[in-house]
């Protein structure tokens, strides 16, 4: 039997949702019939609108998909202005204030507290400036990710930016690919650093050389010329306690054929994915069932009209991003561009930036760079095109005290998802908690010599939006009892990371009460410092210990860290409200 969601999608979905959305916006939130709300909320996702959780009725999260995280000159200012004008609601965040933008792990932007009646005006402003929310959520092509500095990166093998733009133009608003069984997450990377994180996407294109007649590129041992293009992997994803790495389907494609192969695989998923069970719908499960060979065969036989090449020579050995290796493990700091200028990665703690700061950053990007800003998959921002002689003055800007190009390792390594503040699925409070953790760790814990990065990712539930499984320390929302009372807790995983040999964190310690987590991390780092072999990385250290030994190192402990959110934040309408009880939830916003 098809699911409710499939039934709703089969009635109305995709582009046609827009007109109805605008009608409801015009007539007011209450014009959505009660018994159709859930169906419409599901459909609105396709246009980037996600109804916030219970207790926040009538307010929406709005996601702007910025392909590859690229914000062209002027676009960040538009985002800041929209956040300032529209992303305010009845709840004020004690750390971040009243209007802010979230930079996400898939290089998108989320705004909260959006009212339906404001949506047409917001869309108009976004679209007039080349931005869009189309397919930012829902069951289709999501925001395409990659190395955010594509086209500029000194370490580039092939420029993926024109390829990403073409995919975006081809598959956004494309009715043939508008209604897939589940989300479809694509990564296209041209750099040799692995920063596109292809391994955890449904479909990944990774840089690779192939000896094909007459191509350009390097010269092989046998003297033939190598063309640059992409190897293809399928079926990665982290959600639901079933993390998978994308599997190699033994295909190499030249840049100009990427849309045909990507469209073929998206159609294969559309036709063969499981529409009866949403938990089993992602293509990772189809790849489990079929095996990569059958995926390749079906793609060749039914979905493309040319002979597929076999995989080329990849550059995975050179990957550094999120590997814990110490080199370009993220894109923070000053790095060379191909054209002699620089890109400067700035740390945004847990990806959240107040609207005023967004506007100020847009000004700084104009002043010191070209006005362009890019977003990384570690929830950070990158100001590009900064000439050498502007670097010092840029670094001296007061805003960079908060968004630093050389942050403390604990600030730098923190990633957190949305959590109970807005998300229905969450089991615990996340972003503010991760800020408190990072501040406490910065003040109280020293990493052993030579270790200047340490990634801690916090996800509120197993959906894994903060990509916890690929961090040094993975934290995942749980519940436990402390002195008999239910409290928010975290499972602790260790030693995950990407690279040539990616691996997911091992969950070694379960259900640590949230207030004991900083102490547990401090103890773990102390044990690491004491037992480390010479200049061993944390990931290598974890790899040579078994789960029991690691569990012993993670010793939960109460410290002077205080957690104001230990109670069930899920039972509140907004965890930080003075009167936070669900009964005190504000009514849906009245139409202006």
């Amino acid at each position: 039997m098809p699911t409710d969601v499939e039934n709703w999608k089969s009635e109305v979905y995709g582009n046609e949702v827009r007109d109805r959305l605008f009608e409801f916006a015009e007539a007011g939130f209450d014009s959505i019939p009660d018994d159709e709300r859930d169906a419409w909320f599901e459909r609105f996702k396709w246009w980037g609108l996600y109804h916030q959780r219970n207790g926040q009725e009538g307010y929406f999260m709005l996601r702007i998909g910025t392909p590859n995280g690229v914000l062209e000159p002027g676009q960040l200012r538009v985002v800041g202005e929209i956040a300032d004008e529209y992303a305010r609601g009845p709840g004020t965040n004690p750390i971040f204030g009243g209007a802010y933008a979230d930079f996400t792990t898939r290089q998108s932007i989320q705004l909260h507290w959006i009212e339906l009646s404001d949506v047409p005006a917001i869309f108009e402003k976004l679209e007039a400036n080349g931005l869009s929310t189309q397919q930012a959520c829902g069951d289709s092509w999501r925001n395409i990710v990659g190395n955010p500095v594509a086209g500029k990166d000194g370490q580039e093998v092939v420029d993926a930016w024109p390829v990403i733009r073409e995919l975006n133009e081809t598959f956004k608003g494309n009715d043939d690919h508008a209604n897939l069984p589940r989300k479809w997450k694509v990564s296209v990377t041209g750099s040799a650093d692995g920063s596109g994180q292809g391994d955890i996407n449904d479909l990944a294109f990774e840089p690779a050389y192939k000896a094909v007649g007459g191509g350009e590129g390097g010269v092989d041992n046998d003297g033939s010329e190598d063309a640059v293009g992409f190897n293809v992997r399928v079926g990665g994803g982290l959600s639901r306690n079933e993390p998978r790495l994308a599997r190699d389907i033994d295909v190499w494609v030249p840049p100009e054929k990427v849309p045909a192969v990507a469209g073929g695989l998206s159609a294969l998923f559309r036709d063969n994915g499981d529409r009866e069970d949403r938990y089993n719908a992602r293509i990772k499960f189809l790849v489990d069932e079929w095996g990569p060979e059958a995926v390749r065969e079906t793609l060749q036989d039914e979905y493309v009209d040319f002979e597929l090449e076999t995989a080329g020579r990849d550059v995975r050995e050179e990957y550094t991003y999120n590997t814990g290796s110490g080199e370009r493990n993220d894109l923070i700091g000053v790095h060379d561009q191909k054209d002699g200028r620089n890109f400067v990665g700035l740390n945004v703690l847990v990806g959240r930036m107040g609207a005023g700061d967004v506007l100020e950053l847009a000004d700084l990007a104009d002043e010191y760079g070209s006005g362009e800003v890019r977003l990384s998959q570690r929830q950070n921002v990158i100001v590009t095109d900064v000439p050498d002689d502007a670097l010092d003055a840029f670094r001296d800007e007061p805003l960079l005290e908060h968004y630093s190009p050389s942050p403390s390792p604990f600030m730098r390594g923190s990633v957190a998802c949305t959590g109970t503040e807005f998300c229905s699925l969450s089991i615990v409070e996340t972003k503010n908690r991760q800020v408190r953790f990072a501040r406490w760790l910065k003040a109280n814990v020293d990493l052993p010599g030579g270790v200047d990065e340490f990634h801690i990712h916090l996800s509120g539930c197993t959906a894994s939006c903060a990509q916890p499984q690929i961090a040094d320390v993975s934290l995942r929302g749980m519940k436990t009892r402390k002195d008999g009372d239910p409290v928010e807790a975290l499972d602790v995983g260790l030693g995950g990371g990407l690279g040539d040999e990616p691996g997911f964190a091992r969950w070694v310690t379960q259900r640590v009460p949230a207030d004991e987590v900083p102490g547990a991390i401090a103890n773990l780092i102390e044990g690491f410092a004491a037992e480390r072999d010479e200049d061993e990385s944390f990931r290598a250290f974890v790899a040579r210990h078994d789960d029991e030994e690691l569990d012993a190192l993670v010793e939960p402990k109460e410290t002077d860290y205080e957690d104001p959110m230990l109670h069930n934040t899920k039972r509140t309408w907004y965890p930080y409200a003075e009167n936070d009880a669900m009964e005190d939830a504000p009514p849906a916003p009245a139409d202006d």
Binding site: D34, D38, N54, L425
Partner: protein, 105 residues
Amino acid sequence: MTTRLRVLDDGAWISVDDDRKVRVSELWRLDASDLCDCALTDLVVENFQAVGVDGSTVEARVYGQCIACGEDGTTGWIPVGRVHGGSFAEIDRDAVRRPTDCSDG
């Protein structure tokens, strides 16, 4: 009178007549559950997999973990509330629940 039952938000809520009524992230105590060997399973409710009704009892199958022993998985049908005269009342969250073994949902 029929009752409209749905699992919404990717398993985060059980909705009864288009109202989100039962949420994940609570701790439930289960007597003699099939999830683990504990006499009293102390279940973190992480995800609703299915919802059904047996007479006036609304039941769900739940993905979660017993915090007493650490076992995780999907339970059989567990009562979550009752429908009386068209309105739904959730079972007291601190009550001990006894899994039922069938549902027509």
